[in-house]
Structures are given as C-alpha cells and as structure tokens.
Assembly symmetry: D2
Homo-oligomer: 326 residues x 4
C-alpha cells in the first residue's frame, strides 16, 4: 500500500454548521501525522475545475466557531457523468493528491463511491448535513445546531402565538426524514408534528383541533418540508383555515436560517472527533467509508450502506410529544 | 381635577418585545404612587367584554425579560364603531377605572383618541411596535429587539450565501416605513435595500447587478414587506431570476420570528422609562398623549400628531449602505 | 401493590436548565394516566416544612423554555438526619402523596435512597445537574445547555484574546468530574485543559508554553473548578504568570451564568423523555431508581449505583484536543 | 492643504465589539473616494515598530459581524514618551501615510492629540470602547453590545437566584463611569446599583435590605468595577454577608465576556456611520477631532474635550430603577 502524503479535502452539498470545525480537525490531524492537505473549493465542481490550494495550520485558525464552509460548496451535475469524474481525476493526479476526505450528505457520498470505484483513490466521508438522515451515524454534523436554531425561532413565535391566541404552522427543514421535526416538536411543546412524506400527523392534528381541549391559548404545529414541493406548511395551513375558520391560523417557513450560525458544542465536538478519525482511518487503510458516531464511539460504514436514508421515527417518541402537549 | 385612583392598562395591535417590561413599569410606578392598576386582557376586545382584573406588584415579577405580552393583545373591529366604544366605556365605569394606559401602535392610538374625546377618560399611549414608524418618538418599544433578531438571522443566511455564492433576497417586517430595512441593511452589509412602497432601491439593485463588481461571492438584499401584498420579496426575486439567470437567487421571508424574543437592553430601558413616565404624566394631568423618547428625553405628543406615519429615511444613510457594500 | 394516585414532585441541589421541562413532562404524563401531582417547593426543605401544593396541567404552560426551576430548590442539612426524614415522611403522609419523583444530582439521590429504605415510599430520580457526573446516564439534564453557555462565553473571550495576543485561563464548573471542561475545551480549540482534582493537564500546559509553537497569537486554557477551593484557575494563573512573565495572562471565572438560561433542544428532549419515563416507571412498580439515557434508550439504574461519580475522561479525547490545538 | 492619499488606520486600547465594522467602513469609504488605506497592527506599538500593511476591499469582507479587531490592539507605554512618538512618525513618513484614523478610547485620543500637535498629521478618532464614557458622543462603539451581553448573563443568573432565593452581587465593567451599570441595572430589574467611585448606592442597598420588602425571593445588585482595585463586588459582598448573614449571598464577576461577541445592530450602524464620516471629515480638512453621534447626528469634537470623562448619571434614572424594583 502506497503511503498517503497529501489529502484532498472538500465540502459538498448543502452547507451545515460545523463543517469548518471538521475542516480544521482534518488539517490539524493531517499535519500532526506529517501529511499535507490540499483544499478543493466548491466540492466536485472545484475538483473538475482544478481549484486546489495547499492548506496550512494557520489557514484554519479561529474558523471552528463559524457557520458555513471556508471551502465553499456546490452541487455538481458534471460529476454525475463519467467524463466529469475523469476530468476530476486528472486534476487529483496533477496536484499529487492521493486520498480524499469529503464532507457532505448522501449525494456527496454517492459521488465519492463512484470515484473510488473508478479510480481507486481512497475516500473517507464525514456526515455534514443538518438533516440527520444518514445510516451509520447517530448524528450528522450540523443537526444539533439546526435544531437549536429552530427552537429559538419557535420560542419567539410562541411569544406571538400566546399574545394573540393563534395557531402557527411552522415549516422546518430536514427533507423527507422528519428528524428535525420530531426533536424540535418535542422541545417546543408543539401541539402537532406533521411529516407529509411519511404520512404522519395530519389526521391526528385535525382530530385534536376538533375534539381536543378547547381552552388552549396558543398552538404550534411543526411541519417537515415536503420533498419536491414548496411548502407543505402552506397546504396544511390552507386545510386548517378551511376546516377551522374560527382559529387565527398563520404559516411560517423558517427557511435558510436553519443552515447557518455558529455551531453548538456538540456539533463542534462531533466535527473534531470525526475529522481526526477520518485522517487516521486513511492512514490505517480505510478506502471507501463514512466516519460516524454510534453510541458515542466513532465507527466506519461503507458508503453503500451510509447513503441509504435513515428516516424512521420511533413512534413511542411521537406518543410522548402528543401526551405532553395535551 | 378628580384624582386618579385606578389605571386601566392594556396592550393592543401586534405584539412587540418590551411590552412586558412596559407593563411592569406601569404597575410598579402606579403602586409607588398609591394608585391601583387594573389589567385589561386582549386590548379593546377585552375592554368591551369586561375582561378586567386587578394587578399587584408580584404579578409582574420576572416578566421583563420575556417577549410577547402577558395582557395578550388583539385587533378590535367592534371598537372602531361608536357602539363598541360605548360598551367599553360601560365596563371602564363598572370597574372604577378612571384613566387608561394603552401600549400599541397607531391603530391603538386612533382608538384611544376617539375614546378620550367621547368619554373624557384620560389616556396615555406607549409606542409598542417593532415598526418604529410613529411621529413623536425616536424609537418604539420592540424595534431594537426586532432589528437584532433580523441581523442574527441574516448573519446565518450570509453563512450559506457565502458558502454557495448565492444572492439572497430577505424580506423583513416594518410595514411601509422601511425603518427595519435600512438599519438592518446597513448592519448586515446588504448589497441592496428595497422599500417597495417608497419606490426605493429596485432600479439601483438591477443597475448594480448589471454593472457592479462581478467577483462578489455572496449578496444579500433586504426588502421591506409590502403593504397589502404577500411578499414583495417574491416578486423582486422573480424579476431578478428573470433578468439575471446566471445568479443563484433565493428568497427568504423572515416572518414572525421578528415579533418575539427577549427584549434587548435598550428596549427594556425604553419601556421602563416610558412606563414610569406614563403613570406620572396621568397624575400630572396629561390626557390624550403618547409618551416617546426624543434625543434621550421623555416627551409627550398629542395622539393626533403621533398617529401620523414617520416613514422618511434620510437618503444620506442609504448612500452609506451603498458605499460600504461596493 | 397499592396503586399510585398522587406523585410528589420536587427539585433539589443546584438548579439546572431543563428542570422545568422535566417538571412539565412529569405533570402532563401523570395527568394523562389519571394520577395527581403534588408539587413540593425547595426540595427536602419544603418536604420537611410541608410546602406542598397541587399542580394542574396549566401550571406548567410555557415553562419548558425557561431556566431555573419553578419548584425552587435548596440543599437540606436537616434531611441528612433521621429526624429530618421522619418529619418529611409525616408531611408526605399528610398530603396523601404515595410516590416521589426527585430531580437533582447525587446528593438528592442519596437522600431519596435513605427515604425509600426507611419508609418504603417509591422514589424515581431524574438526573438534573449541569455536571454530567452520574453513573447510569450518558447525559444529565442541564449539561448540554451549560456547555453551550461556556463555549459562547469563551468565543467572546477568544475575540479579546486574539485582539490582544493574550493567554486566558478560564474556569468552568463541573466539580471534580471535568466533563464540562473536556467538551468545551475541545469545542473552543483550547490550548490546554486542566482538571486539578484528577491531576490532568498542568504539566502538559507548562511543557507546551515552554516548548510549543511560539507564534500562537492567543491561547485559551480551560480549567475545571477545584473541589473545596475557590479558584483553581487563580492558582494556575499565578503559576503561569510566575513562570512565563512575558505572556499577557488573564484569569476569568465564568461562574453562575453556567447554571441558567433557556435549555437547548437536547436538554429539553432529554427532560421530556425522562420525565415521561419516570411517571410510567412508578406505575410499573419501579421503586428506588434513577431514570437515565444510555445509547439513546431510557434505562433505570438503582440509586446505589447512580450516586457513584462518573468522572473518567477517555484519554483518547484529550489527545484529540491537544493534537487539534497545536 | 495637501490632498490626503493614504490613511493609516489602527485600533488601540481595550477591544470593543464593532471595531471591525468601523474598520470596514473606513476602508470602503476611503476606496470609494480613491484614497488608500494602510492598516497598522497593535495600535501605537505597531506604529512604532513599522507594522504597516495595505488594506484592500476584500480584506474586510464579512468582518462586520465579528467581535474583536482584525488589526489587533495594544496599550503602548513607549508612545507616551516623545521618543516613542518620534519613532512612530518616522514609520508614518516611511509608509507615505498622510493622515490617521484611530479607533479607541480616551487614552488613544490623548496619544492622537499629542501626535497631531507634534507632527501636524491629521488624526480623526472613533470612539471604540464598551465604557461609553466619552464627551462628544451619546454612545461609543461597543457599548450597546456590552450591555446586551450583561443582561443576557444576568438573566441567566436571575434563573438561579430565583430558584435558590439568593442575593447575587454582579460586577460589570465600565470603569468609573457607571454607564454600563445603570442601564443594565434598569434592564434586569436590579434591586440595587452601586457605583463605588461615585459613592452611589451602597447606603441605599443596606437600607433596603434592612427595611425593604422581606418577601423578595431573589435579588440582583449590579456593581460597577472599581478603578484601581480588583473587585468592588467582592468587598460589597463581604459587607453584605457580615450585616445580613441570613441572606444567601453570592458574588459574580462577569469579566471579559463583556468585551467580545458579535456586535448588535446599533453598534454596527454606529460604526458604519462614524467610519464613513471619519474618512470624509479628513477629506474636508478636519485635523484633530473625534467623530461622535449626538441626537442621531454625526458631530465632531476636538480631542481635548472628548478625552474628558463623561460619567454623570442622571439621578432621575436611578430613581426609576429603584421605584421599579421595589
């Protein structure tokens, strides 16, 4: 096995808080082991375009507390085609990069898997997405920050809901997984959690508005965004207004604030641990795996399993939300 | 002049952070002067419905740091009609309330003025609205909190805009006044500020996107919400996408998070000062005025002047925004 | 087995964010199962003094987001003596309380164990402490909030440290366990973590200041508070100033801000789950156990094991901190 | 008058949030007017040591939201001596700097005044200090952020104070001016505000603890730090514990967290306006003045007046604090 001397590092897909902390961890760990790091800007796009640059110890000073990614990120249509990946490989060779660390979500890892299979370059993935929807890790980097951003926003909305005796339908991110919806719903005392793609919650909500406690002075319903549609919340809001015209119902789409912000302690710690582990895994010979955390231990999962969606929500947890908000 | 022994206190219109701090200030100041306070729930609606209750010193312990209003608030269509006001007056007499303090915006003060003229009950208004659009005060209670909520949200959006090289069009509240838009635009380094009702900024934005610096990696445009329409930002976003299809343009409506949250230091101090001043003004014989702050001094402005919109933005300030974001 | 009809609920020991969320969860779950809840103020002190009161569904509306504990808390010297516990038992009988839920730390559980052994009253404990030092749970309620408060404070201190090229020695809470110190140290990029009671870190720090990279522009050292002494940080600061007089060294004791604040999403979710589980455990016949979370599952641990300190820090984690901050 | 072509820019004295926003504003405004900017690191120290470097438009991208100062800051003993200033002047000439903008407090401006008098170099000062103690401006850059940091910390401490029925004595910064103490005291509902240097508040506090309402469940006393001593709060805490041993009294020194953090909206707006005004004032021929804001207008005050302390607190404001916290 050839020794790894130069790791190419990039972020890809939607940005997530903690990506910078992971970047810092990768670089510092690599330098500790006398391995160089080459930054690649804008994910696979930059790889194809040859946007490579050497990263030193100081290049990551004081970035851990910042949202976004200093390496920038993008989605790449080109990389999905073999010619795109071939072009990327030329650049990787040209810059003497002999292994890759990719920070992103399932799309990122799908690309990484293809690249590894076609060209044999070892790639380790770090789960960087607010959606927390990957098999192979209890938490993704960015999720903890996103759910705290959501509850802070919903706490503010609750102030207005209480003052005006209103029902607010609040749409959160998380794609079809509902992972953001359930924890933030529990943590804000939501009167309902709706995950349209999984067909969870609409009937319960209507039943409750019809037969539940009448003297509730405010109500919050958390709706997970709906794949392929803009605004599941708007549609649910429309239905609620139609069926319950006496309620003062409003819709709020939290939107992109959920992707930014300084990462929480847990996201930073997760990013530090996985970033360090990714480098050391490459040195130990791992080739095509995602680093994740399961039961507080770092584990590695082959990309082919990690890219499967993890979107099941334990029904006993939804039962608790319901019981507590009665 | 009959001595004032019992002040009726209510909040009305949209809720604003700092209303609770003002409520606390009114009650503590009244009790200090041996005057009783009767809380009225849900503004003029509660006044008409007789939703009155006595408020003691402890009823306002530890409310200063909370958003919303413990007195709840509402808009009242009934109160706009003479019969509604007559019904309210019956209740005011019934509960031996001999003066009122109203916390709200211009709609609230319009009602207060009519009520005072018709029944002679002295009323003092406190400017409680995030819009900062009243003549007679440099700042309204809630404005400072709202603009900080906005910049924290936009800082988060900037993380994503930078990471993805995007243009974000962010809609903020503030009705037709643009007061929230200009300060938050300056404070977030916005590449454009648009106030649709005042016809400010769209041409400049288009000109800049066409002829300005091309290597900008992220752009934020702050749009003031558009009276009578949902989403000025969506319309502007549509136009930008059409004219500049190469830009990755997104729209974000900040929405109701702007109304809630723990008030800032300045909002609390303003609420404390105006709340105390309102009570003492009633005791000194003021009858139909809004308490405001001008050049750091408490001043009183007759309602008929205060209810006029204050929506002019000093053009020299917009010039600074533009210059700094080049 | 007699059926449980009335649960006495109290908080004890140092307050922790999330206690209110746990209180809400206990009450809502009990009412769901048609069990009454009697609140007891100020922990064992209130139990001895008969400070009991019935708690309804509405008594816990909108408390989830608030720090502190609406039941108040205290340490009780009396309860450590048999006569104190006997007096408490009289009150428990008088108010027809037939089971207890205690939210607190190891001292609380020691009392609960004695009380259960002496009088046979079933008691379930919830781990409510920022220290995260209990066997039987991966996380205690309040810990996640506290570590985020710490990193937000240290991020601010880092601004000054960077601007002035300073070394800051920052003391955090956590008693002898070092649990707060290690995670916040990793998450703030601390150049050193010192846990005086465990004899961790001082030598490494001195070695590093002597032989490490000289061009560091700012340094943060996190020191865990020292049992039985005020200010381990001051003593370490004294030594650093003496040995390295050319460094601009400052000491900052974060202090009580670490105990307060609105709980994070994870703390709220933990409190909801454990609060619900505690009630249902009592109904299922558990008698003398702490509810905890291990590997994301609720588990019950007998008090006699839970009260043992869990203060070991995985050395591989400290190695990562060190490697990343080089 | 020679035209100004190159402005030297530096920050000096204690760092304050908003300094980076001011730096950005100076640079962008200068470039807009085709004037170059030379950054000088570490204030007068860097000026003496020749630590000068050209600053372009991109050097200040996305720094507005960050605490601290990217130019770093220091206090300089050398610059207080004529030889030190002579050495600085050599460097200023060498780098073709023909005017200076200094961001700092009264010590900074005293140096600026001497330098201008001795060498004729025009200097404009920007008030950058959290203390808000300068004549010639209603607010200094950093003050609004600092008072919000304080109230957020005290809100957290209030959670614990309420939960434990405690009296907390909280020391805040602000040197002898008491400006931070009074606004934060009002905004946190403090039961007392003490400004040791001005002999304000200790007698009132003791009187109140002796004769005031006994059923207060928590008390917060805000103490302004004491010039020349470590910890006015500790001394007052000692006295309170001695005189009122039945109270559970704690002392908390907020310390350096007050200097850091992302600046508030008002601090950013102030920094933008003053930064832009400073550059344009130099171009208009101002030579030895501080830019400030009075009644929302930018005004210029000669250094000799600005360096006088502004430490008077309107007694009517302290009366309100007292009245509201009864």
């Amino acid at each position: 096995m050839a020794q790894i001397k130069n790791i190419g590092l990039f972020t890809s897909g939607g940005d997530a808080p903690g990506m910078n902390a992971a970047i810092r961890a990768v670089i510092r760990t690599a330098l500790f082991h006398d391995v160089e790091v080459t930054g690649i800007r804008r994910g696979y796009e930059g790889m194809i375009n040859g946007d490579f640059f050497p990263m030193g110890r100081r290049s990551v000073s004081n970035i851990m507390q910042r949202g976004g990614t200093i390496l920038k990120t993008a989605r790449s249509a080109q990389f999905r085609r073999p010619e795109g990946r071939q072009a990327a490989y030329e650049q990787v060779k040209k810059f003497n990069v002999d292994a890759l660390i990719a920070i992103g979500g399932d799309g990122t890892f799908r690309g990484a898997k293809a690249f590894n299979e076609e060209f044999g370059i070892p790639v380790i993935g770090l789960p960087g997405t607010i959606d927390n929807d990957l098999v192979g890790t209890d938490f993704t980097i960015g999720y903890d920050t996103a759910i705290n951003t959501v509850i802070n926003a919903v706490d503010k909305i609750r102030d207005t809901a209480e003052s005006h005796d209103r029902l607010f339908i609040v749409e959160v991110m998380g794609r079809d997984s509902g992972m953001i919806a359930w924890r933030t719903g529990m943590a804000t005392g939501a009167e309902g959690i709706i995950i349209p793609d999984a067909n969870i919650g609409v009937d319960k909500l209507f039943d409750r508005l019809e037969n539940g406690r009448k003297n509730k002075t405010s109500r919050i319903v958390i709706v997970s965004e709906c794949e392929g549609e803009e605004g599941g919340a708007f549609e649910i809001g429309r239905q609620v207004k139609e069926k319950f015209p006496h309620l003062d119902t409003r819709v709020s789409i939290l939107g992109h604030i959920q992707r930014g912000g300084s990462p929480t302690c847990m996201d930073r710690v997760l990013a530090c641990r996985l970033g360090a582990a990714a480098v050391e895994a490459l040195l130990e010979g791992y080739k095509c795996d995602m680093a994740g955390i399961i039961n507080n231990n770092v584990v590695f999962t082959p990309f082919e399993r990690a890219i499967k969606h993890n979107s099941e929500i334990d029904p006993s947890l939804l039962r608790i939300v319901e019981m507590l908000s009665l």
